[in-house]
């Protein structure tokens, strides 16, 4: 997925992935299509003129919700002779609309047979990369006089694609066609409307009454302009940084997602195209990254996740009382419980991160009401940490999936099957405990203690939480410290044996504050040392580890979001130069992606490849990669809410020049931050 020649546009969780001609011909290796609510509504959408396929002269993805394609008939070598041009303009906003315009440049009139092949396999998003041979329901197509209806029915589960056109067309079961006569220099156009329906027995749509922001093109444009106008302004001597900043804001707007049935509130979805849904972990971490720039996102995210907090034991969904969800899906496999995402709760970090976000959000916004509103949910989350996550009974958060069929094996952010290993490369048994999650638990308790004391009027609970946090920190520093390597183990197995691999996870420990002060310097050295740091950023797994592979998904690639939290952690412990080193490496990398950082890129040394090598199957834009430049800016500028005002303590590398961020919102109203690059990073390496 994620081929660079595919064009994607989206609005909420409706999106179109097509070839650069605008055509859609979905195959398992080329999962293009029109998607909505985790279902593919078009898998074939091919425009021909007189039976000939079209070729792209150029295309424009004007905004995240619209694209334009300039096409000519025939093969690439015949461009110069083209007597016809075809323009396809499309918008996604609730439904999918395409305007087709055909211009005759010939001095003779022409008669054209224009045809759109249309079809849908109604694949669940989870199936798009499989050969779909045995759909359990029935696919149908009905050609009516004024529309084509494509549908899929399995019991009461009905999904329909309804296609109509402003110019009258001849509809058949496989598409629709027009016969057009064009005089010289004449043009013809039609507007095609594609509606997606999720119909219940009463004929009502599942998404009834749901409107995020307006779905008409103008409303979308207005909404985007407003979003950008509301965010702080960035002025920079370096155009690249300004580009990256603007790209981040626009992508963040695009990734806003409104879950069904939650009244149009939005939170950041995880990423396009395959993760346009709510993810506990991704949504929370993105909110943390963007707090200084888009604080209102935190409020809605916290509320939405709170309203879906677990209330009972459900082994299939891995739900427990107090647990924050991992992932919600709306497709056929969730509906028929072939996948557990209705919602699925199999993550161990979303729950402590929920508490962390609430506290951090209050520090910025002063929104005490929300802290009071979510007191019970916070208490339930903390109870989950102590009562249900401690599977070994020694005071740590562990995971072992109860859904052994479709649940996730690794329930931390590094969730691929081989991400957690001993230093000899073998995989530990379950339950497993990873280090960064213990840091989150520590931080959650410390922060909850503050909220209990200051806002919940419960100093006894605050004392208890602080005692527990202190004990956790002591225990952790004893059990997880790898003596001969002088860092923290990646994970523990149920017998307390260390997975003594050196990984980027130690950077998250700095962020959470669980690292003993006299050990922080060792960790900082590792993070900018040659085994972890490539010159662009910190690898997920250190070079020299048996499973290290520069393009191993969680075993050697660089994840921008990971680096942003590492930089924040370094800054927290006073390693400002190390933080700036990582921040400037990642921001440099962003310029190679036109300001849009991918999910991950190769862990090759910077001097070897000269440019960051994109990980082949990475999603883009992805929410926490989009949030990364914003958190790096916060880190370099040293923005920190402090007793009701905003402290600014910039440490920038010389090359960054002068940066100003104007109108940073918060409990202080709006404040500006100014910085100048004074730090010589080359001296650091010596």
């Amino acid at each position: 997925m994620g081929q660079s020649n595919t064009i994607r546009i989206l609005d909420g969780n409706t999106f179109v992935v097509s070839e650069d001609t605008g055509d859609i011909e979905a195959t398992p290796s080329e999962p293009t299509g029109l998607f909505s609510i985790d279902t593919r509504f078009l898998s074939r959408w091919v425009l021909t003129v007189n039976g000939e396929r079209l070729n792209a002269l150029s295309y424009d993805d004007l905004q995240y919700y619209e694209a334009r394609f300039f096409l000519v008939p025939g093969m690439a070598t015949h461009y110069v002779d083209a007597k016809l041009s075809i323009i396809r303009e499309r918008t996604v906003g609730g439904s999918f609309r395409e305007q087709v315009t055909i211009l005759n440049h010939d001095e003779k009139p022409v008669d054209l047979e224009i045809r759109m092949d249309a079809g849908s396999d109604f694949a669940d998003l989870f199936q798009v990369k499989d050969e779909i041979l045995n759909k359990k329901g029935e696919i149908y197509a009905e050609a009516e006089s004024d529309r084509l209806r494509l549908g899929y029915r399995r019991g009461s589960f009905v999904r329909e694609t309804v296609i109509s056109s402003s110019e009258s067309a001849r509809y058949d079961r496989n598409g629709f066609a027009y016969s057009v006569h064009l005089e010289p220099n004449e043009q013809w156009e039609t507007r095609i409307d594609v509606q997606t329906h999720a119909i219940g027995p009463g004929g009502r749509d599942l998404r009834m009454g749901l409107r995020v922001h307006g779905t008409e093109r103008l409303a979308l444009q207005h909404d985007l302009e407003e979003w950008i106008a509301k965010a702080p302004k960035l002025n920079s001597e370096h155009e690249e940084l300004a580009t990256t900043y603007r790209r981040s804001l626009v992508d963040l707007a695009a990734l806003r997602f409104s879950p069904l049935s939650l009244g149009g509130q939005t939170l950041p979805a995880a990423g396009l195209p395959w993760f346009m849904t709510m993810f506990g972990r991704d949504s929370i971490l993105t909110c943390l990254q963007v707090l200084p720039f888009a604080p209102e996102m935190s409020k809605t995210t916290l509320r939405i996740l709170a309203s879906l907090q677990g209330t009972r034991f459900d082994d299939f969904r891995e739900e427990d009382p107090g647990r924050i969800l991992h992932e919600m899906r709306y497709g056929e496999t969730a509906a028929f419980e072939e996948q557990p995402h209705s919602p699925y709760y199999g993550s161990v970090d979303a729950t402590p991160l929920f508490v962390i976000l609430l506290d951090e959000y209050e520090k910025w916004s002063g929104d005490v009401d929300l802290v009071r509103e979510l007191e019970q949910e916070c208490r339930a989350a903390l109870k989950w940490i102590d009562n249900y996550a401690d599977l070994v009974g020694n005071g740590y958060i562990w995971y072992e999936r109860r859904n052994t069929d479709t649940g996730l094996e690794n329930q931390c952010w590094k969730d691929s099957w081989d991400s957690i290993s001993y230093s000899d490369g073998t995989l530990p048994p379950f339950p497993r405990a990873t280090c960064e999650v213990q840091g989150y638990a520590y931080d959650a308790k410390v922060r909850a203690a503050r909220m209990a004391r200051e806002f919940w009027g419960d100093p006894a609970y605050a004392d208890l939480l602080e005692r527990e946090a202190t004990q956790l920190k002591e225990r952790f520093n004893r059990d997880w410290w790898v003596e001969d390597g002088e860092y923290y183990a990646l994970a523990l197995d149920p017998d307390g044996r260390q997975c003594a691999t050196l990984s980027s996870n130690v950077g998250h420990l700095l962020w959470s504050g669980i690292v003993d002060h006299d050990r922080a310097e060792k960790i900082a050295h590792h993070l900018v040392g040659p085994r972890l740091f490539t010159g662009w950023g910190v690898r997920t797994l250190a070079e020299g580890e048996i499973r290290y592979n520069p393009i191993g998904y969680h075993n050697g690639t660089i994840w921008p979001f990971d680096n942003s939290f590492i930089a924040w952690g370094l800054r927290r412990y006073g390693f400002t130069e190390e933080a700036a080193t990582i921040a400037s490496g990642i921001l440099d990398a962003a310029t190679y992606f036109h300001g849009r950082l991918p999910e991950a890129f190769g862990g090759y040394p910077r001097e070897q490849t000269k440019f960051p090598v994109e990980y082949p199957t990475a999603c883009s834009p992805q929410a926490w990669s989009t949030g990364t430049p914003l958190l790096l800016l916060r880190t370099m500028l040293g923005l920190e809410p402090h007793e009701g005002h905003l402290a600014v303590e910039p440490v920038l590398p010389v090359g960054m020049g002068r940066i100003e961020v104007l109108d940073i919102p918060g409990r202080w109203g709006r404040v500006d931050a100014f910085a100048r690059g004074r730090l010589d990073l080359h001296s650091l390496a010596d």
Binding site: G200, R312, V392, G393
Partner: protein, 123 residues
């Protein structure tokens, strides 16, 4: 013998307060359709305070469902959100109320919850 459906609503009415619904207000009517016959259950929620009756009154949200499916949900053997996605349960009106009330249904009876290892004693 009282069925799980009646027990579910009677228990809810007897509790009178449901902390999971502390942030929820509104009325929700379950219409259990079987052939020409429809049984109504009206749930009135006022920030966690709950009252259940069998009145056929207008409500913010109306849920259409078969008695058999509701019985399975009340016993924890079926899941409300999945049923909505499948189209086996229909929702008219404010869908937020359904998502919230769904959370007070029991989990699957065979779900054991997290299993703690007891061999590893605290050091």
């Amino acid at each position: 013998m009282v069925d799980a459906t009646t027990r579910f609503f009677e228990d809810l009415d007897r509790r009178g307060y449901e902390p999971v619904l502390a942030k929820t207000s509104g009325t929700l009517r379950f219409d259990l359709h079987e052939g020409a016959q429809t049984t109504h259950w009206l749930v009135e929620i006022d920030r966690g305070k709950v009252r259940v009756s069998q009145e056929d009154r207008e409500a913010d949200t109306v849920v259409g469902i078969s008695p058999a499916l509701f019985e399975e949900m009340a016993a924890g053997r079926e899941h409300g959100v999945a049923a909505v996605l499948r189209g086996d349960m229909t929702v008219t009106g404010d869908a937020r109320l359904v998502v919230q009330i769904e959370r007070i249904f029991p989990g699957p009876p065979d779900s054991k919850g997290p299993r703690r290892l007891f061999h590893a004693e605290v050091h």
